[in-house]
Symmetry: C4
Subunit: 336 residues, 4 copies
């Protein structure tokens, strides 16, 4: 990983410093780029919320080979984590590799390791086009996330994604705050509960809503028919000064656990972070920037190695807390 990170540091120069801990300090305000919006506090809140949670170590037990597998909307994953949808290599990451090379690296690396990668959306169009091509090349192993466009654009992309073999569709509804898109003549907007329900009905395959940071939105999403939600503040890139995902997760878990698959996204860097999110009630996590660094620095191999590293960390953390299964984590392993 050191070599992969070193290459990434060169390739992402001016866009990402590939810091020892990816915590949003050095890159605060760098949007485009890899930073959080404004003061970067929402990016950092993701990290801080996780860092504030500590593990109760537990060694007098017989769990020496924990099971990290989970079921995700009918598919078996080797570990409880997905690569989050991120696009825009040229303006966010320095453009030293192509969008197509990037998204293939992410999806292929994930598929090889037995987990799942996601595909982003945006302007220009090659972001989703290259993504859907990568999904197609993997026989549908990848999840497209589409922004909350007006209907024509949204459903056109849904159709193309399904044609590429996607079996699940996601919407990152929090992108409704990206006013730059409206300024480009490509308006995005929030969706009323009724409208969200209509969209979900029309999509037909399982629907994931990303950008849920409140109990109210989570409940309305469930009522509208989503199959999964992603608790996420968009990596702190749409609104400064939001809580971290791990802060709001427990409330949302209390409200909708068991009714939908709950993904948590924001600040996850290590296997320990994954285990913390599971202990808070998430069914799985999404990981963003570390996958970008791994992909830019080492392509498919970089992605695969990063997955191996955090899978190992997750195993160790499970042993040290006496956690036998990733799909059934005792909240009491956290001290708070």
């Amino acid at each position: 990983m050191d070599e992969i990170r070193k290459v990434a540091r060169e390739r992402m120069k001016g866009y990402c410093r590939v810091c020892p801990v990816c915590d949003g300090r050095a890159c605060a305000g760098e949007v485009p780029g890899m930073g959080g919006l404004g003061t970067g506090s929402a990016f950092r809140a993701n990290l801080q919320a996780l860092a504030a949670l500590r593990f109760n170590m537990h060694l007098v037990h017989d769990v020496s080979e924990p099971d990290t597998r989970i079921d995700f909307l009918g598919q078996s994953l080797t570990g409880p984590f997905l690569a989050a949808p991120i696009g825009g290599v040229s303006f966010n990451m320095g453009g030293k590799i192509t969008e197509a090379a990037y998204i293939s690296a992410v999806l292929d690396g994930c598929a090889q390791a037995g987990i799942m990668g996601c595909v982003g959306d945006g302007v220009p169009d090659f972001i989703h086009q290259d993504g859907y091509a990568a999904i197609k090349a993997l026989n549908g192993k990848g999840i497209p996330f589409i922004k909350p466009w007006e209907d024509a654009e949204f459903f056109d992309k849904v159709d193309k994604a399904l044609a590429a073999g996607a079996r699940v569709i996601g919407m990152d509804i929090d992108a409704a705050g990206l006013i730059t898109l409206k300024q480009m003549g490509r308006p995005v907007s929030p969706k009323s509960p009724k409208r969200l329900g209509e969209i979900i009905s029309q999509v037909k395959v399982p629907f994931i809503l990303k950008g849920v940071m409140s109990v109210a939105d989570a409940t309305m999403a469930v009522d509208a028919g989503v199959r999964a939600i992603v608790v996420s503040n968009h990596g702190g890139r749409v609104l400064d000064h939001t809580p971290g995902a791990a802060e709001v997760l427990p409330e949302i878990v209390d409200a909708v656990k068991g009714q939908v698959f709950i993904l948590a996204d924001g600040g996850v860097r290590t296997g320990g972070d994954i285990l913390k999110m599971l202990a808070l009630g998430a069914d799985a996590v999404m990981i963003g920037r570390p996958f970008s660094v791994a992909a830019v620095g080492g392509l498919k191999e970089g992605v695969f190695q990063y997955i191996q590293r955090i899978a190992g960390e997750l195993m160790a953390a499970m042993v040290l807390t006496g956690t036998a299964r990733a799909d059934s984590v005792d909240p009491a392993i956290l001290r708070g």
Copy 2:
């Protein structure tokens, strides 16, 4: 804005560093200058109190075009914010532009954008003279703030301000702590409730009291007949170690909301900060140092561009919290 800030950084050299986030750290103790008094803690408290508040994101709704307009003492403003009264370009900001050029830039930029600018007071006299001239040139679009001088000086300035067309008069009563003025033979002083009532009766036009940081003062101000109060610690420049405006605002709102127009002043930098103050119960905010930087760096155009930027940020924050109107903000959008 980058170019404007770059010019400001050159022009304000030795007085203001035009930091990425204007937070009172680098300039602590620089009075005169742009800093807070002493350790600068009261300046920083304004920022910290706002930063401690976080937004509950909310996207499942149909607010895509929020209304930012408000009514301010009978006048319609396009946004819920005013430029705070600041003067003394020569000793506080480096003196690379004249006081007249400065205050005209602030008032003109605000008027062009449909909001309102304020005019400061102090020694030497050209501070208020240039300010009143600028108000006159804009047919009264500007609010003079006069220090709590002894009667002769105070009412002389009131008369001159009204003659210039001002329709509202403000007093920054917290300037009573500026002992340097007394040393210059220009004594300022606190005002008893009775004396404050007499002054307000004598002024005749709507009266704004600035420097209210306690429920006791707010209540007495209302009883004395003020039309508006400004919750403000004078940018942390009269007393070290006070709370931030956003900390005391909720208590003051509880006590006098609806009886007077409540302005909050202190640490507001972005559209998100504006929305936070409104959610705490302010009817509008004042913004200080960022307007000075914009005016010194870009004159009227700088002021106008800064207003456009924070208006855009305010819109985005309203969309992302489901806030339809600036004059009716749900406190629940804040997580605390």
Copy 3:
């Protein structure tokens, strides 16, 4: 003061950096020197405890000329503060001025300004000898503090101090933790309640116990017959990781207020800090390192100017909080 501080910075090179805020960070662990012991946390705790207290601003009142005078054990002081006992110019402050010049500057400057300075004790003997000579030269205007030696040494110093004209005797009992003294063959030790009472009876003039940081010690000191206590952690120089004086002061005030004169010592730098200690219930404060810097940098004139500066700050803080008298401060001016 800037010039005085500049001279002090040169003269104290290697011993004190004369930082913008004297907060114990840069000099942590520098004993001898001006720092706190070990990590310096007890020094910093004094500052942090004061910084955590904030003022409720209050301007609608008629206090424009506050009265700062107090009565201290029968003597009238122009302000509620004393110069703390500090000695050892050569090994603590760089030795660019003599011990005699130093202690005369402190006592003379205080006397000229109408307050009171104290004299320290230690090894070598010229520390107390020069101090008592300075007291004698001022006809007794100065308070000697003697370490908790064994009887022969202690009472020998008491006799010499009284012979020099001192009208009050102090003991800094917390010096019992200075094991270096024992290593030099000059043992110091704690005193049992009974022994303390005997010592006080034998001293005859009013007795001040310095180094009281707990309610238990305060109560026993009162029972033993002290006339005043100094709540102090010895500037953080005898034990790492103690609370700050301002943290324990309220409890001690609750226990013994009115029974003895309560001095608070630790982290006081400004007039605002003095007012905070009074609001917590202290009758007056001691100020340490800032007097040393003023004396080394400007001798008697430096001490006098420092007193004028903090007296002005105290006046301003009293105006801005509506405090009429230093001997009767409303605890409600603090927000906590």
Copy 4:
């Protein structure tokens, strides 16, 4: 000590910076090396938990010669502290001295000062071999800690340690999280309560379990027959984001105090830290990295001098808190 630390800084270059305060900031993530795992938060938590505790100073009493001696599993120690088991000079400390020289320095220095040193375990085998040779040379004055290997390896080492004269055997069960060992073909694992009991029965001499960070593990350890536990997060080197030892210690004390000897390990640097752990209920402490620095920098003499320094600090802290005996410390000396 300054010279010893200077030599250590040169010898440990690239492995340990020998910082003014050994707090895990500079070396975060340096494993191998002297740092904490990952972000280093578990290392820092040990320090932070101790730093958060402050002493109530107490001087009105007659304790001037405190007794620091304790009984440890039937042996008398001059002070309530042991050198923790640490090995791997070559890959953790720079390899400028041999493993044999290192461990002899630690054990000899401790024996000379009347306390006890421990011996670590790991790969390669010379770590324990050199350790047991040093124990043998001291006629059994040293405690071997063995990792939780599979039975053959574990009991082989127990036999060798006993043959070397060891009278007590320890197991650092938290090493079960070191997945690198498994990757080297030397698997370690947690132990079920039943298995732990069987191991203890088979060992025959008093058994110490190290790595207990929860009440559950402490209780099961007691039930399994341990004679002592070490509350420890392994210096923050097996799991990122655990509490500090001093945080969990009080709960564990509540549960098992008096039933087993309780050692606390993590972040202890000074005599004050030792006294804090005793006040929280520990019977004695282990100290890790400072002993390594002392041994690498000054061999046996360095270890001895470090012990003298912290013993002196412990005496001073006992005087300043009125603590007469190390084996009976009043929890009320801590303010929290």
